[in-house]
């Protein structure tokens, strides 16, 4: 029996030695990124991340603004990852890359990162920050790597923050964001103020080591492949799945007339939504940062060259709900729809007129053929070609926006304005 044990022991030893000899050497410590090829691409493309320490990779993260997306990946070797660009559909938007392994996390730090030390003055409000010893960064509006002895105070913060041992971060309120920290980092309200309720929802991940990958430019998202074809009709939304969403979720719209989609907007602020046209009947969306408040509802608008459609509940169904509940959209007189938060939409039909008072009362005005809008131009206006709108004032506003570098005002001439009677988006964060 003893001889048999020894024999089994010898076999096991041989097996361990053999596997040790075949195994490649894994780098010590946190991973590092040396390069991403190509450094731009669309959702679904494959990119290669070269670096070190990728054995045991747990997550590859693309962070855009306040949101982040995890990418599918495969570990080719300790020095290389093959990564599928995650679903993010707004083009020409830059993403910070991070790789989390069992040994630590690394973040791609661009050469344009702003160094913040004890002598820094007039630090920009937006960017990628490297907070050094004695550096104090106020109102973080970007990714920050905070070194021992550095501190940052979060305002409306980016999706990722990295706090090394001895570094401090307080009042970070991005509930969609993640703080990676080393043991010994100070994440409490160091100035003695009470933590806000939002801070409790923030994800905190303790890692053994944080490394910054020097000189790694942010990844540039390109527009995803869109189903080709000219629009045959104005869009129409029949269903939204899933109906409950949070920022960075992917949503599938089914309906018709999605070919040639030019814009998708969500919510009161008409936030632009990235989209991918799958076919004339299917449209995929990625929910943006500015989605709205948890528990509220939001409408969706889809535009193509043939028209625009907005999701609203069936009038009768909407009337049966209590108008003082939060998150509701309810119909009023003369085509006016009210939205919690004091916003409103107004549909102006043929032979109806909206004067200055009416136009300023409604946040968004939809003027059908034959409607008359005068003399004031509403803040946001969609109008059909035969609507009587103050075109000179519209041209002046466009010019003013261009002169001031404000982009395009939300004024659109569309062939047809339609309502898609469907459920509204329910804004529901994961913890609800």
């Amino acid at each position: 029996m003893a001889a048999r044990c020894c024999s089994v022991g010898r076999w096991l030893l041989a097996l361990v030695l053999a596997s040790g000899a075949a195994r490649e050497a894994w780098a010590e410590g946190a991973p590092e990124i040396y390069g991403v090829t190509p450094n731009e691409g669309a959702a679904g493309d494959t990119v290669r991340i070269k670096g070190r320490g990728f054995h045991g990779t747990i997550r590859v993260i693309f962070a855009v603004g306040k949101t982040s997306k995890d990418a599918r990946f495969s570990v080719e070797s300790d020095d290389e990852l093959s990564v599928t660009v995650p679903d993010y559909f707004l083009p020409d938007v830059s993403a910070t890359l991070a790789v989390l392994t069992s040994k630590g996390v690394t973040v791609g730090m661009p050469a344009s990162a702003v160094r913040v030390d004890g002598k820094s003055k007039n630090t920009p409000k937006i960017g990628f920050f490297h907070v050094l010893k004695e550096g104090m960064l106020d109102l973080v509006n970007g990714v920050a790597v905070i070194e021992d002895g550095g501190a940052a105070r979060g305002g409306s913060s980016a999706a990722l923050q990295f706090v090394k041992r001895g570094g401090g971060l307080e009042r970070y309120q991005n509930t969609s964001g993640t703080i990676f920290y080393e043991r010994g980092a100070l994440l409490s309200a160091v100035d003695g103020t009470r933590k806000s309720s939002h801070e409790d929802q923030v994800k905190r991940i303790e890692v053994r080591e944080i490394s910054e990958s020097l000189g790694i430019d942010s990844f540039l998202f390109k527009a995803p492949a869109q189903a080709a074809g000219e629009p045959t009709s104005s869009p129409r939304i029949r269903a939204i799945a899933p109906p409950r969403v949070w920022v960075s979720d992917v949503v599938l719209l089914t309906g018709a007339g999605f070919l040639g989609t030019s814009h998708v907007f969500v919510g009161n602020k008409l936030t632009e939504v990235g989209f991918q046209v799958m076919s004339d009947r299917q449209l995929r969306l990625v929910m943006p940062d500015q989605l709205g408040y948890p528990g509220h509802e939001a409408w969706l608008m889809v535009m193509n060259a043939k028209g625009v459609t907005i999701t609203l509940p069936a009038r009768r169904a909407a009337l049966t709900r209590t108008s003082n509940s939060r998150g509701l959209i309810w119909p009023g007189e003369n085509g006016l729809w009210s939205v919690s938060g004091g916003r409103s939409l107004q549909f102006v039909g043929a032979r109806q007129r909206v004067d200055q008072e009416g136009a300023s009362r409604a946040s968004i005005v939809f003027a059908k053929n034959g409607a008359k809008i005068t003399p004031h131009v509403p803040g946001t206006l969609f109008y059909e070609p035969e609507a009587d709108v103050p075109r000179t004032a519209i041209a002046e506003r466009r010019k003013l926006y261009e002169q001031r570098g404000l982009g395009e005002p939300h004024i659109y001439e569309v062939e047809k304005i339609a309502v898609s009677e469907t459920a509204l988006l329910q804004i529901a964060p994961p913890w609800e």
Binding site: E32, G127, L214, D217, E402
Partner: protein, 312 residues
């Protein structure tokens, strides 16, 4: 938003033209905190026939409506002119004359657009090569930059087949010329100070090149990299890059020598991580960087341990 980002302009240009661009002037462009800062420079747009003859042009970063109007004018004028090549030029000259008269009636001042119509009335359908310098220099008031041997030499430095691959230090200066900048660099290295001594040692790990800052846009274009980032508007701008021109970090002015020492040490360590180095080279690098920053020393130690592990 620029005129070229306007959807109407984009659609019209897509339908009627093949768009191309070329840099002919020089201007400063750096990336400060992720935002591109430009200083100087201007733009002229030429609407040409397929064989490169100018039908119309417009100068300056004009609003979308103006660019669209100039493009439409070119298409309409060309379509309405005679189909025979011989008669086309006089017909276009007449249209330019009419357009110049109309503009003079609208405004007492003779603006750039009027001057362009006058020029193209005198010489309709000129080859682009013959007219762009006049429009850029005399009407727009910009200087066409000469072909610069310095840009070519910096590009060559990045294309050198070096063994081992060295990082590159690009010194971008605003005042003076390359010789002056190199002289100043050598003076800094030769001083009898600890920082100068370290700079001297670290510079041996680098290829060092000099270039005027206003040629940076051209250099970026040649190298196929984004414009280099600068921490501020100071000069000279010392840019530390990988051997393939991807930037690692930057420091400004002659006064921040300690920062420059650290940046060069950091760049040398990064190059050692990304390109193969022998144990001897790593040991020499450790001697160089450990006194500058203990963490950089630790990174080299880690590389040495990794190298030992992977050696059979």
């Amino acid at each position: 938003m620029g005129a070229l980002s306007d959807e109407r302009v984009a659609q019209y240009l897509r339908e009627h033209f093949v768009a191309a661009h070329q840099q002919v002037g020089s201007f400063e462009v750096t990336n400060q905190g992720g935002v591109l800062k430009k200083n100087g420079g201007n733009v002229a747009s030429y609407f040409c026939t397929p064989d490169g003859r100018v039908v119309n042009a417009i100068v300056g970063p004009v609003p979308a409506d103006d660019l669209l109007a100039a493009a439409q004018w070119a298409v309409d004028a060309y379509d309405e002119s005679s189909p025979s090549a011989a008669d086309r030029a006089p017909a276009l000259a007449a249209k330019h004359r009419q357009a110049a008269d109309d503009l003079r009636l609208l405004s007492r001042q003779v603006g750039g657009q009027t001057q362009i119509h006058e020029l193209l009335e005198q010489k309709p359908l000129p080859p682009l090569n013959e007219v762009y310098r006049v429009i850029f220099e005399q009407i727009l008031g910009q200087r066409v930059a000469p072909r610069d041997a310095e840009v070519a030499s910096v590009v060559e430095a990045f294309q050198l087949d070096q063994r081992p691959k060295l990082p590159v230090l690009v010194v971008l200066y605003k005042q003076g010329d390359g010789n002056q900048a190199r002289k100043e660099w050598e003076q800094v290295l030769s001083r009898d100070r600890p920082a100068s001594l370290r700079l001297r040692e670290l510079a041996e790990c680098y290829l060092v090149t000099m270039l005027p800052l206003n040629r940076l846009a051209e250099l970026s274009q040649h190298l196929g990299v984004r414009p280099f980032a600068a921490p501020d508007g100071g000069s000279p701008l010392f840019v530390v890059t990988r051997s393939d021109a991807r930037q690692l970090t930057a420091v400004t002015t002659w006064d921040r020598q300690d920062e420059l020492v650290f940046a060069l040490a950091q760049g040398a360590v990064q190059a050692a991580k990304e390109e193969p180095r022998t144990a001897n080279q790593l040991a020499r690098l450790w001697n160089l960087v450990e006194p500058i920053d203990a963490k950089l020393g630790e990174q080299i130690e880690r590389l040495l341990r990794d190298a030992r592990k992977s050696t059979p």
